[in-house]
């Protein structure tokens, strides 16, 4: 029993990291949104699998939320907003693709080193899940830092948040996961509504990206 359930969970979490990398080098907004939808889909599968192997039916709620809200509603809404507001289709990036990928690999290495070392005692599934989750979180941060455009930053934040949900569901028996994922969904809905209502276009370009840069430096 342990074998297959472990492998599938591992596979899904690994796929999530992979899709994070795919997001990292997209330079068109629509493609980025599609990648995000894929990210959310993989997350939904991963959470559903955790719900199954942990025998925790409440996690299906989180999985359904990821599927319906993050994989369908949000990407569709953002598609429409981009079309209606006529935002640039190209994403301005602070660093090039190569540098971003190298930085991303550094992030993954960092999270492996940190997480696998400190969780030596925990059960193997949880600890590798956690290492993957931290990778997704760091890649999301990296995405936010390297994008100048508001939608790009929002997608970065959402994939960061997917990493957190992965971590929360991987922590066996953690209470309040559903509540937390609902709270996060509200947050994201606010961001998307905010973009739409305020019709903030490229004025976000002046958002102080430096602050986030320092942030990463603090951690890295």
């Amino acid at each position: 029993m342990r074998g297959i359930s472990f492998d599938v969970a591992h596979l899904l979490a690994g796929t999530l990291v992979l899709v994070s990398f795919l997001q990292l080098y997209q330079d068109r907004l629509y493609a980025l949104l599609n990648m995000f939808a894929l990210h959310a889909l993989v997350l939904a599968l991963s959470v559903a699998w955790q719900a199954y192997i942990q025998d925790a039916p409440h996690l299906y709620v989180t999985a359904a939320l990821a599927l319906v809200f993050k994989a369908i509603i949000i990407p569709v809404a953002l598609h429409r907003i981009i079309a209606r507001l006529g935002i640039h289709r190209e994403i301005e990036k602070v660093v090039g693709v190569g540098a971003a990928m190298l930085l991303g690999m550094g992030m993954v290495a960092l999270s492996m080193v940190v997480m696998l070392r400190v969780t030596a005692e925990a059960d193997p599934l949880a600890r590798e899940d956690l290492a993957f989750a931290l990778s997704v979180v760091l890649l999301g941060l990296l995405m936010m830092v390297t994008r100048r455009n508001a939608v790009g930053q929002v997608v970065g934040f959402m994939s960061l948040e997917n990493g957190l949900v992965l971590a929360a569901t991987g922590a066996k028996g953690m209470p309040l996961v559903v509540e937390i994922s609902v709270a996060f969904s509200i947050l994201i809905a606010f961001i998307v509504i905010g973009i739409f209502l305020f019709r903030i276009r490229e004025r976000f370009d002046t958002v102080d990206v430096q602050a986030l840069d320092r942030f990463r430096g603090e951690r890295g």
Binding site: V114, M115, R117, V118, T119, A120, E121, A122, A126, L130, A133, L134, V137, L141, M144, A150, Q153, F157, L160, E161, L164, A167, A168, A171, K172, G173, M174, P175, L176, E179, I180, A183, F184, I186, L187, F190, I191, G194, F198, I200, R203, F204, T206, V207, D208, Q210, A211, L212, R214, F215, E218, R219
Partner: protein
């Protein structure tokens, strides 16, 4: 859940928020806002005398009782100030009645979120509450919908979201550390059981968790270098919100940090959280003190002053020990009272002058004596001149540091002096000299401002023994 004072502290703001969301009319809703805040404050006071036992979700102990009372008190006085401030904004058309309804509902929702974060006995619930508080303040910062306000709200939003996301990761790690000891399920997220058994947690996991929590909640405290959102959010939102942000929300985030610090302190093998907090506190203090010199916007200047003082408080709690903790608690209380009083004054000054630019203000003590001298008194207090309350608490922080780490004390004193000089340099232009700018009569209610200042003044001479005993007790708990 049976009905008791703790649930009342939460229910009153929620019900008021629902009511205010549907009620039209400015005078009525401003009064209901005040009434609800007053009721919350009175209920919070009653917690000093009797409190329900800790549940799985909510609890009140000596530590958070202080925070709750302070929060609801400043929440109440700010609602009084807000009534006259918002009335003026409505007159000049900066706010429309619809937004006003929204504003009042959000105000109560923020009170609810802060109280929930304080009484939460569950690290997950506390996280959700702080997230809710962030959301409501983001909405209020952007309420003027000017270009600058939206940008400030967006910046706050993104940085605040990243902060709370990191804090959540830390929270998950704490649960992971607790699970093998306490077992799966709700108990592994309950403060009271976490703190009892923390000695057996895996120290390495706890260390990593604390780093995430420090960065995450530290962003909300406004510690440098994670403070970038704070000056903008203070400067562009309505002034009552600046007062609440500075006086209360920063404290709530700090409270969360303190709880986790206590958790680490009970585990001898985990890293000592003190030095990390001391370092970030000192960096914030010195950095903000220098930044004070170059400020042209009056609200932005006092926002940097808040970073400075949060730095001092974090430093004091980082030093730890009964004396430094006592000083930290006292300083936090004094700072909340003084800084919100200053923002009350600044709000009316900006309304009189029609601008927030320091260069366009001058000679306030001549043109608007009450307001001008109120500000002077507030700045004298915040700069830490004797005999006011902040002098007391800063003195305690400095002396307790000198006894244990003289080198740190030198940096501390240096930062304090730099900030002190900057504040008086600016105060000189604003309050004295040639009158500059518009000179309208201020239609202000001075009661909240002077009530706060009177408390701070009194604290400089006399602290009630009951309060001292209470703080000493809490300082011991903080370790």
């Amino acid at each position: 859940m049976s009905f008791d004072a703790v649930s009342a502290v939460l229910l009153i703001p929620v019900l008021a928020a629902a009511l205010l969301a549907v009620l039209p009319g400015y005078m009525l809703s401003a009064r209901i806002n005040m009434l609800a805040a007053l009721l919350t404050f009175l209920t919070a006071l009653s917690l000093f005398f009797g409190r329900p036992s800790a549940g799985k979700y909510l609890h009140v102990d000596d530590l958070n009782n202080v925070f709750i009372v302070l929060t609801s008190f400043v929440g109440f006085t700010t609602s009084v100030f807000s009534a006259s401030y918002i009335g003026h904004e409505l007159e000049i058309g900066r706010l429309t009645p619809t937004f006003l309804r929204f504003y009042h509902a959000m105000y109560q929702l923020l009170m609810f979120a802060m109280n929930l974060a304080l009484v939460a006995n569950n690290i997950g619930l506390m996280w959700v509450a702080i997230e809710l508080a962030t959301l409501t303040t983001v909405l209020m910062v952007g309420i003027y919908r000017t270009h600058e306000a939206l940008e400030a709200a967006w910046k706050y939003f993104i940085l605040g979201s990243v902060g709370i996301a990191l804090a959540l990761f830390g929270t998950i790690l704490v649960y992971m550390a607790a699970r093998p000891v306490i077992g799966e399920g709700l108990d592994a997220m309950v403060w009271t059981s976490l703190i009892e058994r923390a000695g057996a947690f895996d120290p390495a996991l706890l260390n990593v968790a604390f780093v995430f929590l420090l960065l995450g909640y530290g962003t909300k405290v406004g510690l440098a270098p994670l403070h970038a959102w704070l000056p903008d959010a203070h400067a562009e939102g309505p002034t009552p919100i600046s007062a609440v942000l500075s006086g209360l929300l920063l404290n709530v985030a700090l409270y969360a940090l303190l709880r986790f610090k206590m958790l680490l302190a009970t585990n001898p093998a985990a890293l000592a959280p003190g030095p990390l907090m001391v370092t970030m506190g000192l960096i914030s203090l010195v950095f903000a003190a220098f930044m004070l010199y170059r400020r042209r916007d009056i609200k932005r200047m006092f926002a940097y002053s808040s970073i400075e003082h949060m730095g001092i408080i974090t430093f004091a709690f980082g030093m730890g020990g009964p004396l430094a903790n006592f000083a930290g608690l006292l300083h936090m209380t004094m700072h909340s009272l003084t800084k919100s009083a200053i923002f009350f004054a600044v709000g009316h000054i900006a309304q009189v002058k029609g601008t927030q630019r320091i260069a366009d203000m001058g000679g306030l003590t001549v043109t608007n004596p009450v307001l001008g001298w109120g500000l002077v008194l507030g700045v004298v207090a915040i700069a830490g001149l004797p005999p006011l309350g902040i002098f007391m608490s800063e003195f305690l922080v400095v002396t307790s540091t000198f006894a244990r780490a003289p080198w740190l004390a030198i940096v501390l004193v240096f930062g304090l002096l730099v900030g002190f000089a900057a504040l008086f340099l600016r105060l000189n232009t604003i309050a004295f000299g040639e009158p500059r700018g518009a000179t309208a009569e201020a239609k202000a209610s001075y009661v909240p401002m002077f009530a706060h200042l009177a408390l701070v003044f009194m604290a400089g001479f006399y602290l009630p023994p009951a309060l001292v005993a209470w703080f000493q007790n809490v300082a011991k708990v903080l370790g």
